[in-house]
């Protein structure tokens, strides 16, 4: 029975939408050290919506600079390739993540707001801890819950059983696994594998609730773990399951995190999330 469910769920992963073509083209262009701002602009010329979103994000308080950015070329020069990659991904992934999610009871736009919150909180934690900010923390954070889009319908069907298990003190993703044979983190990782994302991003998504089960510890897994729970605590993307997730003390120890780090990041995250999600909603 459980195995049947896993097969059904994996079938859904197979038919899950691919990442938009322009994004794939841009990501490989942005990964190529020889590509120029002009080439990037050429690809974007055919996607007015994406261009508009990139310019809006480039001029936001979070991503932007003091100068007004009027063209993609200028954005590439002023913000740099790393930020442009994040902007492309943020803009492309929004359309996928802004849907209503059954099972977890997330209203339209709420999973998207949560994804942005975790990305902003993750970068905030990195800055607070004075750690180097790799390219991948923002991306992994943005995509950590993509598996909920596939799992939602299945969770909805068996919600009573899952909730019965979870209400006995079992974390929600473990309850999903007990009843459905898999959980939203594993399914998210399967989607990202199909999208050919780098292994460290796939791993961060796979282990965002269970960093101790990863084959090796990494800052990116630990940070996504903390940023996710922090965002839920402040009510962004808080679904049916509430705060029924376990925070691993070993993670905060490894990161050397303090209460003040945590609360400072929380206090800075909210406004940015409102700004960024508002920008993209306005079309």
């Amino acid at each position: 029975m459980k195995q049947n469910r896993v097969t059904e769920i994996m079938d859904k992963v197979e038919s899950f939408p691919g990442i938009p073509g322009t994004a794939v083209k841009l990501m490989s262009l942005l990964d190529d050290p020889d590509s120029s701002a002009a080439q990037i602009e050429d690809v974007l010329r055919y996607d007015a919506g994406l261009t508009a979103n990139i310019l809006k994000l480039s001029n936001s308080a979070y991503f932007g600079m003091m100068t007004h950015i009027g063209s993609v070329k200028q954005a590439v020069v002023v913000l740099g390739i790393k930020r442009i990659k994040q902007l492309v991904l943020t803009s492309c992934i929004g359309a996928i993540l802004d849907k209503q999610v059954a099972g977890y009871d997330l209203q339209p736009g709420e999973l998207w707001r949560h994804s942005i919150a975790v990305s902003v909180a993750a970068e905030g934690l990195i800055a607070e801890l004075e750690m180097p900010n790799g390219d991948d923390i923002f991306t992994a954070s943005l995509l950590h819950d993509v598996g909920k889009l596939v799992m939602g319908g299945f969770v909805q069907k068996d919600l009573e059983k899952i909730w019965n298990a979870a209400s006995k003190g079992v974390p929600f993703e473990a309850a999903e696994e007990m009843i459905l044979g898999t959980n939203h983190a594993a399914i998210g990782a399967a989607i990202l594998k199909r999208w050919s994302f780098p292994e460290k991003i796939v791993d961060a998504v796979r282990w965002h609730h269970n960093p101790e089960d990863a084959h090796e510890h990494s800052v990116i897994i630990d940070i996504v773990h903390v940023a996710n729970i922090l965002s839920l605590m402040i009510g962004i993307g808080l679904g049916f399951e509430g705060l029924n997730y376990q925070l691993m003390p070993s993670v905060t120890e490894r990161l050397g995190l303090s209460t003040s780090n945590l609360e400072t990041v929380a206090s800075r995250t909210l406004q940015v999330v409102n700004e960024l999600s508002g920008l993209l909603e306005d079309g």
Binding site: L232, M233, I234, G235, G242, L243
Partner: protein
């Protein structure tokens, strides 16, 4: 404060780090209380009330944010809520005060007990000012939505698909 047109019911949504007052037939709602504190203050005679959705206990963590928005923190938000209810006609001796939220994730990590710290600070503030909590739905891992009906003072909590009166 929301305007009432005759008997028309106004629905005010209180977002995170926010506070709204309501009068007469208004309904004041706040969604998805996790670790945040939801505090409802009501005067049944003047029929005015306010709902605060505060995120963190102490404003010293980010003075600038507290200046921009006192409702982000319990220590700055609670006094402003009471002052605004008084300004709208509420009187201290008649106030009915209820609290919800202040949840915590699973696990024994003290650092993440923001909900517990929010609640402890609230109790301290109320005690110092001689105000008692009438009722509360506090702690645990639930996500709570609060519906505060200003006509009757009724506070309804919705959580995990179930509703209850506070």
């Amino acid at each position: 404060m929301g305007k009432n047109n005759g008997t028309e019911l106004m629905r005010h949504i209180v977002v995170v780090a926010d506070m709204k007052l309501g009068a007469k037939g208004d309904l004041v709602v706040t969604h998805a209380l996790g670790s945040c504190l939801g505090l409802m203050v009501y005067d049944p005679v003047a029929k005015v009330g306010g709902l605060l959705h505060a995120m963190l206990p102490l404003s010293k963590i980010n003075r600038q944010k507290a200046k921009e928005n006192p409702f982000m923190f319990v220590d700055t938000g609670v006094p402003v809520l009471f002052k605004q209810v008084y300004a709208a006609g509420g009187q201290k001796q008649r106030l009915v005060v209820k609290a919800a939220g202040c949840g915590n994730p699973l696990g024994k990590n003290e650092m993440f007990k923001i909900g517990q710290r929010n609640y402890t600070l609230l109790k301290k503030l109320l005690w110092k000012n001689g105000v008692l909590l009438e009722s509360e739905a506090i702690g645990g891992t639930d996500s709570r939505t609060v519906y505060f009906d200003i006509a009757s003072g009724t506070v309804k909590i919705s959580s995990c698909g179930k509703e209850s009166l506070l």
